[in-house]
Symmetry: C2
Subunit: 270 residues, 2 copies
């Protein structure tokens, strides 16, 4: 199967109208995506995206297009036979790497392209991506990673060793996952721009839907932060779990000061 | 003076043909620039650029264009009256900051725009940029910096205090700078792709031009690295200063191993 074309769509949604996604520093996000479609000679398509919050989505589109020459014309099985080397070819392109490597726009763009390959790979294997990964041997899984700069902390052999030590209980974990799902928390009850009434009713809705962990945005005026965190704690009761996110609004001194004030609402973490 | 237009040029030079600028990981750089021209109602222009090595220069151009709405229409004196706030408005744009902030493509783009403002500011004051900076009071200089995230390490008051403590000897340093220039090293003698003969003749030329500090690129095969460093040491003699740059080619273990081998050429640093 050969990748014949890479197309990129600049998708934007005007979510700032509803204040969804708002926090202390991202006050008007328009949830957006630079969306990649890889087309193959076999008719299968690989889809991947990188998320942005509006302005600048076109910069990610331009960056994805800069990777086209490293993707179009490639055979899927040559990529998947040594996925780590494919990542390295893209992340270490001798000219593009100047703009990154592996940070900011270039990292976002690379993620969209590589996720589209994973999507294509999983479709070719007729499995969801999680199952494709779970079915790999330790050696196969580790071969998907470019260990450049990681070897200072972890070598491929050490990684294989960790996975092999856990192999005996892998089937149990898969059964558990299929039985009870994967743990997650909701952050959709407490966006910064929501009214108190909206937060209250979203908390009730989320509890009714079975959520047990709730994240609240802070980083505004102290009295507003306290009021919003207090009302979420009140709605979810003493036994469900509360988390707090200031989204890089504070320096260390402010974080300590605010942390002391907000501690009385018993956040799990901030 | 009002900024009426922001234009961006995608400039590229085919320097890879001569192997200029080559190192262990950037094997074929085409020195390029996303070049900004700010046009004003007073006829003055502010020029700034961000450097890249070829592919992806267009991504920086796209990122610079994403800042246009924060620059065009602004009054120069409003920007320079609180330069730190101007940096923060650009670096913390509520949507663009998702792509950075202050890293990768967005940081490169921001540098080009802000450098163009500095160029315009210096032209308006009829001084070179270094002199514009040197003539500022400690308080003026510190006001040019956005201290967001820096306050964990240094507050504006601490920065002013450092500058005020050194103020008494500032005039001496300016005289010294005007008399003997600013120290620099040359890296142009030892690009990775140059032949041994080219390196030798460039060393002689640089010595004749008064250079005393020389940087050599390494990160290839051990025997090649040793041969190239040895010949530069031979050309510059025991008393001039040699430095070595592997450009992120090595992990820690390799750096230690190579460092031990190359130590005999007495590099100042690697």
């Amino acid at each position: 199967m050969i990748i014949r074309a890479l197309e990129v769509l600049d998708l934007r949604f005007p979510t700032s109208r509803t204040h969804a996604g708002t926090d202390a520093v991202h006050v008007d996000p328009d949830y957006s995506a630079a969306y990649v479609v890889l087309k193959t000679d076999a008719g299968l398509e690989g889809h991947g995206l990188t998320f942005t919050i509006g302005r600048g989505n076109e910069v990610c589109v331009a960056a994805i297009e800069a990777f086209r020459h490293l993707v179009v014309g490639q055979r899927l099985q040559d990529i998947t036979a040594d996925f780590g080397a494919f990542w390295r070819r893209l992340a270490s392109d001798s000219q593009l790497r100047w703009l990154g490597p592996e940070k900011g726009v270039i990292h976002l763009a690379l993620a969209a392209v590589v996720n589209a390959i994973w999507d294509l790979y999983a479709k070719a294997e007729r499995k969801p991506v999680w199952k494709l990964l779970a079915d790999m041997t330790p050696r196969q899984l580790v071969s998907c990673i470019d260990f450049r700069y990681m070897t200072d902390a972890l070598t491929p052999d050490e990684a294989i060793d960790i996975l092999e030590r856990q192999a005996g209980t892998k089937a149990d974990r898969e059964r558990e996952l299929r039985r009870s799902g994967f743990p997650a928390y909701t952050t959709s009850v407490g966006w910064m721009g929501y009214s108190d009434e909206a937060v209250r009713s979203l908390c009730r809705e989320a509890i009714a839907n079975g959520w047990t962990h709730f994240k609240v945005k802070v980083g505004g005026r102290l009295e507003d932060d306290c009021r919003r965190v207090a009302l979420v704690r009140e709605e979810i009761g003493p036994d469900r779990t509360l988390m707090i996110d200031a989204n890089q609004q504070w320096d260390v001194a402010t974080a300590i000061e605010r942390g002391r004030e907000l501690a009385r609402f018993r956040p799990w973490w901030m």
